[in-house]
């Protein structure tokens, strides 16, 4: 069944992945960019179009499968990861993707999300994180910041938010990345790399809801503030950022600090060098929580990745091994077993 590679002669374009359905997100929604980048990179994954399956739950993001001209299920609220797990477990030959929002994936679907990560099922999970409930018209979400005033929190939300990347690290996802709806180039790269990863791949996309939470990520996406607030991660490279590329992250024990390179006796050598393949998850936890600290930039890029056996491979290896040792299932043997006796 491992036959993902497509024959050389078929070459898709972005248009091949665009369905006939009218896209019905609000004009200006960040979802448009995610859809466009996904359609653009899909041909590059060398996967036959009929082998893609898009799965979603409920919410604005969950309409995504309708717009991809692939196989798809628009499921029920929160359960996309579970439905996708069933598809992938049954059919490891398929490339299975989940499109989900912060409410869908982390509130009602939180349990399925962490367990999919834990099992390392080879599915790709995209979190469209706009930090608000959109389709139900503007309640705070599990990623909304504490104190946020919304329709359901007129005096300010008293909930502490989830940090999605940190949750994914803690749950054992084997590819964890963050990107921005307003940075198509970076987003394309992350989607491509997630698509090529074998195992649970999770991408948090900072996505703007221009109706209910406009400007949530403004400092990360607007030209004048982006450089000073976004840290682009690259494997093997020091974590530097800033308009002048003169700020760096230094790891002082387990505490990250911002340093000015070439000032106060600091040099580039003091800057934390990013290692996507770090076996130790401690540093990935620190990195994933960086933006929660006052005065720290938000890292984007691949936080961590790891190669390990996927659940779907493990299951099918077991099935195949048992077919070899016990022989292909034989109904006669199955039915005629145990203590039997004859009546004549």
């Amino acid at each position: 069944m491992e036959n993902k590679e497509m024959p050389q002669e078929v070459k898709y374009t972005a248009k091949d992945f665009s369905s006939s359905q009218d896209v019905r997100w609000c004009p200006g929604c960040g979802d448009y960019s995610i859809l466009a980048q996904m359609q653009r990179i899909s041909p590059d994954l060398n996967i036959k179009k009929e082998n893609f399956v898009w799965v979603s739950g409920i919410g604005c993001a969950a309409r995504f499968p309708y717009y991809m001209d692939t196989y798809g299920i628009h499921g029920i609220h929160g359960r996309a990861s579970a439905i996708a797990s069933g598809i992938k477990i049954n059919r490891p030959d398929l490339s299975v993707w989940v499109a989900s929002g912060d409410g869908d994936l982390l509130s009602i679907g939180g349990n399925h999300f962490i367990h999919a990560c834990r099992r390392n099922i080879d599915i790709k999970i995209l979190l469209f994180n706009n930090r608000i409930y959109g389709l139900t018209k503007g309640q705070y979400s599990p990623t909304s910041e504490k104190g946020k005033k919304t329709k359901s929190s007129p005096y300010g939300s008293i909930d502490y938010p989830f940090n999605p990347l940190n949750l994914a690290v803690g749950s054992g996802a084997t590819f964890i990345a963050r990107s921005l709806d307003r940075d198509p180039k970076h987003l394309k790269e992350m989607l491509t790399r997630a698509g090529r990863h074998k195992g649970t791949a999770f991408i948090e996309v900072y996505q703007n809801c221009n109706i209910f939470n406009d400007g949530a990520y403004e400092i990360y996406t607007e030209k004048e503030s982006k450089a000073d607030n976004v840290l682009f991660l690259e494997h093997g490279k020091p974590m530097i950022y800033g308009k002048e590329n003169n700020k760096g992250i230094k790891l002082n024990g387990l505490t990250p600090e911002v340093i000015n390179i070439n000032e106060d006796g600091n040099s580039i050598n003091d800057v934390w060098v990013h290692d996507e393949f770090d076996k130790e998850t401690t540093r990935a936890h620190i990195l994933s929580q960086l933006a929660d600290r006052e005065g720290m930039p938000a890292p984007v890029g691949v936080i961590r990745q790891e190669e390990k056996e996927t659940y779907d491979d493990a299951l099918h290896n077991q099935l195949n091994a048992l077919k070899k040792t016990k022989g292909e299932g034989d109904l006669k043997k199955l039915l005629f077993s145990g203590n039997m006796w004859d009546v004549n």
Binding site: K48, G72, R79, I87, N90, E328, L331, K332, W341, V343
Partner: protein, 614 residues
Amino acid sequence: MQKGVLDLSDVTVRFAGDSGDGMQLTGSQFTNTTALVGNDLSTLPDYPAEIRAPAGTTYGVSGFQLHFSSDDIHTPGDAPDILVAMNPAALKTNIKDLKPGGTIIININSFDNRNFKLAGYKSNPLEDGTIDGYNVVQVPLSQLTKTALEDSGLSAKEIERCKNFFALGMMYWLYSRPIEPTIEWIHSKFKSRDDIASANEKALKSGYYFGENTELFTTRYSVQPAKLIRGRYRNISGNEALAIGFVTASVKSGLPLFLGSYPITPASDILHELSKHKNFGVRTFQAEDEIAAVSAAIGASFSGALGITTTSGPGVALKTEAIGLAVMTELPLVIIDIQRGGPSTGLPTKTEQADLLQAMYGRNSEAPVVVIAPSTPADCFNMALEAVRIATTYMVPVMYLSDGYLANGSEPWKIPDPDTIPEIHVEFKTDPENFQPYKRDENLARPWAIPGTPGLEHRIGGLEKANVTGDVSYDPENHEFMVRLRAQKVKNIENDIPDLKVEGDKNAELLLVGWGSTYGSIREAVTRARGKGLKVAHAHFRYLNPFPKNTAEVLRKYKYVVCPEINMGQLSKLLRQDFLVDVESFNKIQGLPFKSFEIESKIESIIGGIENGK
């Protein structure tokens, strides 16, 4: 001393002791041996929800009842002829069920003040009149086992745990059963512990010889093999039959079986059994919760598997929304509900039939599913095949209602030749020409087009669909059309299921109707009542949605219709509502199956007086 052998046609035994005393094991060994002897049989395990409740207490008592006979039988027996009580608590909780004058074998070593107190006896029940009218045999089971195993090298505690084999050996002697099958079993079970295996074998043999030599027993009994239909048999429980039924359906349909499941009593044994059959390509997914279990099964079905999920009532409640998704997406799915006492956590290890209305209506909006129910443990096999045939032919979820009594109870099963089991014809759509995801065949079923098929890429989901195209549609007329269509599709299945069969008196005045596990008790009650000259018949529903096509015709033929159910009257409600027939509901809601005499009394209360001219 040569003892007399008395031939009996029919015996009911019950083993009862602490949940740590190995009563389920003792009972199932006695059952297997009895099956090999060729008796017809029916079993009823009855155990507490606690794994090891405090020793000696009444709530920690675990029981196993077995009815075996040289005739055709259908129930585990109303009242035991003989009770093996390992301690005072077992005596206390079980004595009331025993036949008047029945035999009680007690382990006298456990009858001390401490255990009387734990069982809630204020005085010694052997002396205060409690056991008057019974034939009580006092055996120092613990002491005899200890003596037999003093050279075994085992600890006192380990020796004490062998006493159930002593009791079993004694019972084998008493009912003239061979001990060899159990000896064989002991050695395969304790393969890695030779000392334990030898000790258990010795305890078993000692018990057997004790029976032969003691003066406590003057007679032993035998029960001749039953005259069953020719063939090869094995003893099978409902859950086992169900599990291998789905494996068989997988082979017969050519679809890989995918089980999404979350452990829950009394359904977990199906998960255990199916996870053994990986060489049939069975994918078992022990999910993080009930909702994930059904959702994964739906995903698997979408991708071309035979998606099933196993659970009990509380799990069905959690799966409700996802079942609605399967209704809307028109995917094959089998939801297996091993019903137990409720509501809420209820009585996890006890049986009940109270999820029928949940199965029928327990979803938001109009969400019809097919509902079927096996009527005996062995029938669980047949209905698995039916569930899959219907689900795949009609692209529809099927609710399969078994219960704790069927699941754990067992009976001899005449093993079918798999070659004679019909294929389940399934064809995936592959032709892109004029493909429409919601275009329908003569069964109103939409095509099953699975990922990986070029040119058939399409999206399905929970939003209302336009017929034929499957596009999302908010059109008011389309919605009404689709609601009616989904209902019609299920209704049409009445043309594809067997008619309701009536057994019993051709000129009956009274019809008993039932469904599911009450089959055996009703049938036995009807047989007995007819033996007394009462004109009574029995019809048993295995298909509950849709009902068989001749249901109205059958129900309207009788002056009286009575429906015994282990609930408050759920089937009778449906029958009254659908057929406007005055069905009288007869209920028992104690977490226990009906005893035949209870139904027999009901029959007599309705037609007995008139017929007998009283």
